[in-house]
């Protein structure tokens, strides 16, 4: 009995156990925080890559659409069409600007044909079919490259980089927020060749017809439409983490969200005519001025106070 009381072995055991417990908890905290930070950085990279890729897709769509837009502008104004503003500029070049504006205002009231479609050498394709096919091609690019394609690319890129799924802003699905279809009069002409000179004969007057694409009036609206915001989400996974569930009192790792925005932009100009232009030649000139820049994509701030 006395011997057993005097036995001092095992005295240090609870002390060591408690110490070890505390140390292990600290170690678990370090590992959990490391895992969290690693996941966050990885997911942020995934969101960045997804947004950048989607905006890249949009930029490609815009480049293609812009080129077709120039095609739509060129033949439409080719020979028979008379852009009133430029005609007044030519005739009254030295007159004061106010007088030119007044004359242009009154001339605009006349039911004058703004656009005449006439190609002397088109041959088999009818002019109206040509215009229709170009417009269809634009819509196709709008909804495939610049719409669903952008979303699919964003989803795949995010998934490949470790995200579980993606939440995207609704304007990722089309470019309709930025571009509007100009509507107005188109005069289609047939060609009669007399002594080797092609002469247009108007056959069909189409009012309110679909013409080239133009930018919307509001610049913020355009910016918001070209801006792609992607939220990459990584769900709480079951398994090894979190380390020490019961010990630290953590049930599961949190679901992680990362947000990123990117925008298609062109340094040389918007590539599309501004709102409400009557002459289609502006579609060509805008394309020519923006052609050497081309649309590109870059990450932009989301607009949160955390500077994401």
């Amino acid at each position: 009995m006395i011997n057993r009381l005097k036995d001092e072995r095992g005295q240090i055991l609870p002390f060591v156990a408690l110490t070890l417990l505390a140390l292990v908890m600290f170690w678990m905290t370090v590992v959990n925080v490391g895992k969290l930070v690693r996941d966050r950085i990885m997911l942020q990279n995934a969101a960045d890559a997804a947004a950048q890729s989607a905006a890249c897709m949009k930029a490609r769509a815009l480049n293609s659409i812009g080129r077709i837009n120039a095609l739509l502008g060129v033949p439409v104004q080719s020979l028979g069409g008379i852009p009133l503003e430029s005609l007044i500029e030519l005739v009254l070049r030295h007159a004061p600007k106010t007088i030119r504006k007044i004359i242009a205002f009154f001339l605009r009231k006349l039911p004058f044909p703004e656009v005449v479609v006439w190609w002397p050498y088109v041959g088999t394709v009818l002019p109206n079919q040509y215009v229709k096919s170009l417009i269809t091609l634009q819509e196709f690019y709008n909804y495939t490259l610049g719409g669903v394609g952008a979303y699919i690319i964003a989803y795949n890129v995010a998934k490949e980089n470790g995200a579980d799924y993606v939440i995207a802003s609704p304007n990722i699905f089309s470019l309709d927020g930025a571009l509007d279809r100009n509507r107005g009069l188109i005069v289609y002409c047939d060609t009669v060749v007399i002594w080797g000179i092609p002469i247009p004969i108007p056959t069909r007057w189409q009012r309110g017809a679909k013409r080239w694409l133009e930018l919307k009036e509001n610049e913020d609206e355009i910016h918001n439409a070209l801006k792609v915001t992607v939220i990459a989400v990584k769900k709480a996974e079951r398994g090894f983490f979190p380390l020490g569930k019961g010990l630290l009192g953590i049930e599961k790792m949190p679901t992680i969200y990362a947000i990123a925005s990117a925008r298609a932009y062109n340094t040389k100009g918007p590539m599309f005519p501004s709102h409400g232009r009557r002459s289609g030649i502006s579609a060509l000139t805008e394309y020519l001025s923006a052609m050497f820049g081309g649309y590109d994509a870059h990450l932009i701030p989301v607009g949160s106070p955390f500077e994401h």
């Binding site: 001092e8 110490t19 505390a22 140390l23 600290f26 170690w27 905290t29 370090v30 925080v33 490391g34 930070v37 966050r40 950085i41 942020q44 960045d48 950048q52 590109d296 994509a297 870059h298 990450l299 932009i300 701030p301 106070p305 955390f306 500077e307 994401h308």
Partner: protein
């Protein structure tokens, strides 16, 4: 006299334990402090990443790192400097912080420097590399 001294071993264990425990406590708390240092360094790395990304995205990166460091600021950490510089398409961010430690250790503060490098997107080479893989 000598005999009495030799035979009385009652307080020996206590004294020994007191001496050993001092050393062991310093060791244990040192390890704990190391864990805290590691945690804060990880968070500081995250802050450096955020600063670099903010520099790439919007060219003003003062707040981004601060928001990341905010949770650990309550545990005795003070961010001193967060800035990013970009040259030749590469952004390098530097985060400097001070962590206040327990008094019994040799140095009461720890100054950490964390850097993070990030490539700016419009770099042509970056595009080529990332698409080739």
């Amino acid at each position: 006299m000598f005999i009495r001294f030799k035979k009385n071993e009652k307080g020996q264990a206590l004294v020994e334990t007191a001496i050993v425990i001092l050393a062991i406590l310093v060791l244990i708390f040192g390890i704990m402090q190391l864990a805290l240092l590691g945690t804060v360094m990880i968070v500081a790395n995250d802050a450096a990443y955020s600063v670099a990304r903010a520099e790439v995205v919007e060219k003003s990166s003062a707040k981004a790192g601060f928001w990341v460091m905010l949770p650990v600021c309550r545990a005795g950490v003070m961010p001193l400097r967060m800035k990013a510089a970009s040259e030749e398409g590469v952004v390098e961010s530097k985060v400097k912080y001070v962590q206040f430690l327990h008094k019994f250790l040799w140095s009461p503060t720890f100054t950490g420097n964390v850097t993070c490098k990030m490539v700016k997107s419009p770099d042509r080479e970056f595009y080529d590399k990332s698409f080739k893989r």
